[in-house]
């Protein structure tokens, strides 16, 4: 991801076959087999529609704390990904428009603030990227 306002998602586009993918692949194109030197970094809008949604009640790690809600999101660029939802998750449903938000996660040893890209239901009234 790229932390900005709004945050964006970094993926790749294959020069040879045009396939766009997320996450950006360090090895090659899964469609045509082009090497990593033929993959261009692209910025994808962190905006899309919920395709599937689930509230998780049991998790093997302390964070995120349960219950939390995850979704399969189809981005406006046509790429599907899975991510944790934030904000008012009770408003989230299949078909909801969502947008990415950077959520504080932890402070690294060197003082760097680490953020996690999550998605929230896009408030149409507020416009923005959603």
């Amino acid at each position: 991801m790229r932390v900005g306002d709004p945050p964006t998602i970094v993926g790749h586009e294959c020069q040879r076959c045009g396939r766009c993918a997320f996450p950006p692949d360090p090895y090659g194109c899964e469609r045509c087999g082009a090497g990593v030197d033929e993959l261009d970094e692209i910025e994808l809008a962190a905006a899309g529609v919920i395709h599937a949604i689930a509230t998780v009640h049991r998790h093997h790690h302390a964070r995120p704390e349960t219950p939390f809600t995850v979704a399969t999101i189809v981005l406006d660029d046509g790429i599907a990904l899975k991510a944790v939802l934030t904000g008012d998750v009770s408003a989230a449903a299949i078909g909801s428009r969502v947008r990415g938000v950077a959520v504080p996660w932890e402070t690294a040893d060197d003082g760097t603030e680490v953020v996690d890209l999550r998605f929230e239901v896009a408030d149409i009234g507020r416009g923005a990227s959603g």
Partner: protein, 382 residues
């Protein structure tokens, strides 16, 4: 290109054996594996020296587990190897053993699935060095909870209709002495204890320990070792495929299953309407609905109503997961795929007792595994 050597030189399941699936115990994998192999040899009515190659399906045991087990039956020096293919490891062990026999390399081969659960399993996809946004939040039960969410929405199915799969499979498992869960459950019990999305604890398979063994033989092997031909069940198709690229949001497991099933049905020259009995990768209840549709038993969205109408029950049109499936029999990983083949063979022999599908003649075994891989076998009793 893909030919079908199983058509040219027939391969038969001639012996099956288990160590029951159970919670992790002090039993060693050697004990588990030997128990299953000894049972399979006795079932086939042959002695260990008749076996000419052996494959051990295991995802968790680590290096070199085959000989330390099987030499306790006699150090015959035969070729052995471990087969790892995620949840489909035991299925792939059967595929490799069948290939050995079909190719003429051997007349009698062993496929053994054995595993013990352990923490900190190394998995290829997680260690490939590809970062995503999930951060470990999408474990298997949530992967399938998301598929359930999309399915419920697309087809107007209720969570209770999906849970009915677990109701049926626990009912079947209660009649299987090798099952980890051998208790009938009520729908209320199955709907309790949410885990992820609509998936509850009893709609998620238990992962324990156990072993399953299948001995396969050629016509020559059957004659040479005077094996009872009336109990032999022919493997008419063995298909393996891996994931391709699918449209965004499409469930890869079902898409991959549909492609693999086409290969298997083409090899055997049979279709889904001819299936009497079916074992699918029902690690989570939603999967049985996805895969029965992907295998072509019914159009998309209709499997839930077939579960409700009893079509997938014992005595119904096609018994699905008569063993109890992964949901009730359990999913000890390595043994699971091998155990499916053993269950189908038992059903087609007519030896399944209280969980017998009447007049079962044609059966299919299906596993998927992370990666993703899919393995489908078709068995027929003449």
């Amino acid at each position: 290109m893909a030919g079908n050597i199983l058509a040219d030189r027939p391969v038969y399941v001639v012996g099956i054996g288990f160590h029951r699936y159970q919670r992790n115990s002090d039993a060693t994998y050697v004990h588990l594996g030997l128990t299953a192999v000894r049972a399979a040899l006795a079932d086939a009515g042959i002695d260990w020296p008749a076996v000419e190659t052996a494959y051990t399906g295991t995802a968790l045991l680590g290096m070199g587990s085959s000989r330390i087990m099987l030499s306790r039956l006699g150090s015959t020096g035969i070729p052995m190897a471990q087969v790892e293919n995620a949840s489909a490891s035991g299925s792939t062990a059967v595929a490799q053993a069948s290939l050995d026999v079909a190719s003429g390399r051997t007349d009698v081969a062993l496929a053994l699935g054995v595993d013990k659960p352990r923490a900190g399993i190394a998995a290829g996809p997680a260690e490939a060095g590809i970062e995503n946004l999930e951060g470990g939040t999408i474990v298997p039960f949530t992967h399938f909870a998301l598929l359930a969410s999309a399915y419920l929405d697309a087809h107007g199915v209720t969570p209770e209709q999906v849970a009915a799969v677990a109701l049926k499979n626990h009912r079947n498992g209660a009649h299987n002495p090798n099952a980890q869960r051998r208790q009938e459950r009520t729908l209320d019990e199955i709907m309790a204890e949410p885990i992820s999305g609509s998936m509850t604890r009893l709609q998620c398979c238990p992962v324990g320990e156990g072993a399953a063994a299948v001995i396969v033989a050629s016509d020559d092997g059957i004659d040479r070792f005077r094996i009872d031909r009336s109990r032999a069940v022919r493997i008419v198709a063995s298909a393996t495929r891996t994931e391709r690229l699918y449209p965004p949001g499409e469930g890869i497991d079902a898409a991959l299953t549909a492609e693999t099933a086409v290969d298997a049905f083409d090899q055997a020259g049979v279709g889904p309407a001819e299936l009497d009995v079916l074992e699918v990768h029902d690690a989570f209840s939603i999967e049985e609905l996805l895969y029965t549709e992907a295998l072509g038993l019914c159009p998309p969205g209709e499997a839930a109503s077939l579960v409700a109408s009893g079509d997938f029950d014992l005595g119904g049109r096609c018994a699905v997961s008569p063993s109890g499936g992964l949901l009730a029999m359990g999913h000890p990983i390595g043994p699971t795929g091998t155990g499916q083949i053993a269950e189908i063979a038992r059903q087609l022999r007519g030896e399944a007792g209280p969980r017998q599908q009447p007049a079962a003649r044609c059966g299919l075994a299906h596993m998927v595994g992370v990666g993703a891989v899919c393995v489908v076998h078709l068995l027929v009793k003449d």
